[in-house]
Symmetry: none
Subunit: 333 residues, 2 copies
């Protein structure tokens, strides 16, 4: 993943951008900081005004790196209202200006104090061109991938990317081997064949159960995606479904009737993983063009052991996704 040379070397760096100058520590792309200063805004990559998410391209400079600028993607997302803090929000601390009033309806602009206005900031640094493309708004097209398209286009593409270290999943292995993030593990079944690790998705704060989002990652290696599954994996899938649901009910109080459990195809990384989230969450990636319910997957593999190896998948790709370009090059779109 460290395919950008710009800011992967030094350990402690002095950030200088615009009128900000702060001492901050950067380790191999890790940004340790106490404020958001020191990031120069290059452009707005995407801005979802209904979901209150902005994706930015920024530059982080460091004098420990020959003054080179390091590309960063900054994803800002306003957090949902915290139900525990609502009465606090309805207080003198929240100043108002009046926008409009009539008999019954009044609208205001409210300015809550910082502690009640938290936003989630994700910084990807160093950001590769692929990261920047990923967060840039693009037109999407529907692609149909037959079994032979997978063999002739998608798989060679994936293998090339893996060989070139672009699709590096070492970070997944680090999680599975407890080298990183072991404190975040919600549950682990250590069985090498059917076991898995359950941990919160990056998008979830681990507190607000209405936004619950956890990921199950099997210990078994070599399963890149749904495409690789066959009847022999039914015990693995049933184990993840049964234990995943039981653990989430026990720890977070959500029942199976409150959870959406699914794969992505195409996934965002090629070590098999399964998404569990609150069905009340209206979120991207749950559409019929990308999400495949685990219950359906188990049923389909029971019906036909090679269901997903033979299937023609219909999915959406962005116009400058490299896989889309491959399909285009092969005259398939």
């Amino acid at each position: 993943m460290n395919d950008s040379q710009d800011c992967s070397a030094s350990n402690a760096k002095r950030i200088k951008i615009g009128d900000n100058e702060v001492n901050e520590k950067i380790t191999t792309g890790t940004v340790n900081r106490s404020t958001l200063s020191g990031i120069g805004l290059v452009s707005v990559l995407n801005d979802n005004s209904s979901r209150k998410v902005a994706c930015l391209h920024g530059k982080v400079a460091s004098d420990g790196n020959d003054g080179q600028l390091c590309d960063a993607v900054i994803i800002l997302e306003k957090k949902p209202f915290d139900q525990n803090n609502l009465q606090q929000l309805l207080s003198k601390k929240t100043k108002l200006t009046v926008d409009l009033q009539n008999d019954i309806y009044s609208t205001f602009t409210a300015f809550p104090p910082p502690e009640l206005s938290d936003i989630k900031a994700t910084i990807i640094c160093p950001a590769t061109e692929k990261h920047i493309r990923k967060y840039t708004k693009q037109k999407s097209f529907i692609v149909q991938e037959t079994a032979s398209d997978y063999q002739n286009i998608t798989l060679p593409y994936l293998e090339k990317q893996i060989a070139a270290n672009v699709f590096n999943i070492q970070w997944v292995f680090n999680i599975l081997e407890h080298k990183v993030e072991s404190e975040r593990i919600i549950y682990e079944d250590p069985d090498k064949e059917n076991g898995f690790i359950l941990l919160p998705d990056m998008k979830w704060d681990r507190v607000d159960k209405t936004a619950l989002y956890v990921i199950a990652i099997p210990h078994k290696r070599g399963l890149r995606s749904l495409r690789d599954l066959s009847a022999e994996h039914i015990p693995l899938l049933e184990n993840i479904l049964t234990k995943g649901l039981a653990v989430i009910e026990e720890k977070f109080g959500l029942k199976s009737s409150e959870l959406r459990v699914y794969f992505h195809y195409q996934p965002s990384y090629y070590h098999l993983h399964i998404h569990f989230n609150n069905v009340e969450l209206d979120m991207p990636g749950t559409g019929a063009l990308r999400a495949h319910l685990l219950a359906d997957v188990i049923e389909n593999l029971t019906l036909s052991g090679n269901y997903y190896r033979n299937k023609t998948f219909t999915f959406e790709l962005r116009e400058n996704d490299n896989l889309y370009l491959e399909f285009q090059r092969c005259g398939k779109v």
Copy 2:
């Protein structure tokens, strides 16, 4: 609109709720205020965590009104990021706490200053019961409908509703017989077995192709939904797919790679119909819990003629949907 007597009379009131005590002026339900204090939180009516909107039921008290409490609905919505203030947001004013860090990704909770954290607040006061219902969320649950659940619960329920004229589809027959809306027909294949009518969905203005949404309705009767399809219907489905896509490309310039083509299960009415819409449209009803791609349906029926008659469908129902109540009555949820 003034159907609540509680706080429509006085002009200047002294708000007392919880630990807040402030002098504020209230005129006929109009809330003149410079802070959000003086509102007692009764309950959270709705909380959309992806769109960052919360709807609250509150009580506003006033000593000029015999101490009676006035019902209010408070709608809070975080504002989208303001593109003009982004560089200001990336400054020392925005404090951070670290949530998680690995090689490349760092996530933080950021606390911007109040002037960059504005939210839109709407207060409806006095609020009637109808206002409160309007802003109250209905919880959804996931239901699994096996083939026998369909026979024993869903089908008898549908037949009862049809007999009682609740699920009346005479309006569909009127369209198919050109008794109504014939001027809206985009295309018709009159064949009784494999033919269909293509017409714009009510949600589409027929002009803006970025919002294109058309419906195909087969002439064939007796097909209530996906559940009724078997291998013998493949020619009908292929005919709709091929001709539907060709007509949309010819008349509206959208290619098959720009269109999402799917069934709903459960559908909103029980005469088979197929949705065609622009894949760029982020709209409800396209999720994996409700949408079934026509291409997948054809492939599944080719694999197994009774695929949809045998399938266990997983879908979402609202808690006071009558079908949900039937599943509950039968001990299935």
